[in-house]
């Protein structure tokens, strides 16, 4: 049985250029959903995620797109209209207008492990002491001390990460309309921050990130991802009038 996979929503007037025949638009009044038909039960998550990503990327190259949460499937075209486009129409129109001309840029920072660990040992006498105690001692004999050492280091990493993430956020926030921290996505994450930026300021933002990267070099590597559809900034508006969701 076929279902309709919903990727995102765009203004009905938009004619996004989409590769592949499988993706189509279901238009209703001023908005249109980006969907494809999918057989139930045989899809691999990685493949679908890649499609989701590609479809929204392609659409966002020429129009404003609001992402729909990954993995959203509806029974048929009629339910897309009656249960999604119609009840949320006004809120979506407003959200699309608000996001017009804006893109998401995500900045991720990654620790240089040795520099991070050296800094932590230098800052914490307790950690330095424990480290000396377990060095050269057989694994089995120092097991609990190693765990204690690791716990202290983990707490320090956490503290350092909070500071660094906040630092990146505050530093780049002036160039953005909105900004928020996302949870660390990898163990070596130093920062994971999403910024909503005017399209016209993307270049300026990139230069600022490069400048910050130079300052942090040796300790943190920065990665700039985007422009992206406003993944981190979509949903708040609708959640207000409907049910709350995390």
């Amino acid at each position: 049985m076929s279902e309709v996979h919903v990727y995102g929503v765009v203004p009905a007037a938009a004619q996004p250029e989409l590769e592949g025949d499988e993706v189509r638009l279901i238009a209703h009044r001023k908005i249109a959903a980006l969907v494809s038909d999918m057989e139930r039960g045989d899809a691999r998550a990685v493949t679908v995620l890649r499609t989701h990503w590609r479809v929204l990327e392609e659409a966002s190259a020429s129009t404003t797109v609001l992402p729909v949460r990954f993995g959203t499937v509806m029974a048929d075209d009629r339910s897309v209209v009656e249960e999604f486009l119609e009840p949320s129409h006004d809120a979506i129109v407003a959200a699309l207008a608000e996001m017009a001309g804006k893109v998401q840029l995500t900045v991720k920072g990654f620790y240089e492990e040795d520099a991070l660990m050296a800094g932590i040992v230098a800052r914490s006498p307790a950690i330095a002491r424990l480290r000396e105690q377990v060095r050269g001692v057989p694994e089995a004999a120092s097991y609990y001390k190693r765990i204690e050492l690791g716990q202290r280091v983990a707490a320090e990493v956490e503290r350092t990460r909070e500071q660094d993430a906040e630092g990146v956020l505050e530093r780049l926030r002036p160039l953005a309309i909105d900004a928020r921290l996302e949870p660390p996505s990898t163990p070596d994450s130093a920062a994971n921050a999403a910024f909503l930026v005017e399209e016209s300021r993307v270049g300026e933002f990139g230069k600022a990130v490069a400048g910050l990267g130079r300052e942090l070099a040796g300790r943190i590597r920065l990665q700039l991802i985007g422009p992206l559809p406003p993944y981190s900034f979509t949903g708040d508006q609708l959640a207000a009038g409907e049910r709350a969701w995390a």
């Binding site: 039960g41 990327e57 249960e83 949320s88």
Partner: protein, 141 residues
């Protein structure tokens, strides 16, 4: 798409847009939620979700951190011998990560890199080009 820009000096690392692995946490759990939607059951979704979230608090992690600070300034090759096995016994099938760097990412496990899905990269490449040309001028920094 998602362009990991790299400055001339290499201050913005992770050069190649490595693709899905870089954006998975950006995409998952974001966007509009439709009240009446059905959450589709996808093969491997648990793994994707788990890999987009890191779990810091585990014995496994602590031992890796301990190893990482212990390793500083000592580059003895055998420093980590024995630890992987130890950890494997302790983690109950949850985390599969072995010692490498203590902070080493978990992305490899997902196999996002290749062979794991049948979607080719052609579309993505083209999209990236289009995006780039759309905002030319900001990657020469």
């Amino acid at each position: 798409m998602a362009v990991a820009q790299r400055s001339g000096g290499g201050y913005l690392e992770r050069p190649a847009p490595s693709g899905l692995a870089d954006v998975i946490d950006i995409i998952l759990d974001k966007g509009l939620v439709i009240d009446a939607y059905v959450r589709v059951s996808l093969i491997g979704i648990e793994i994707l979700t788990i890999d987009a979230r890191i779990v810091i608090a585990s014995v496994d992690t602590y031992l890796r951190f301990a190893e990482a600070v212990g390793r500083l300034n000592l580059q003895e090759a055998d420093q980590s011998q024995g630890l992987p096995e130890l950890m494997e016994n302790m983690t109950e099938g949850g985390s599969k990560s072995k010692t490498r760097g203590a902070l080493e990412g978990v992305k490899e496990k997902v196999g996002l890199g290749g062979g794991d899905d049948d979607d080719d990269d052609g579309g993505r490449q083209k999209t990236r080009t289009r995006r780039r040309s759309r905002r030319d001028g900001d990657e020469d920094e």
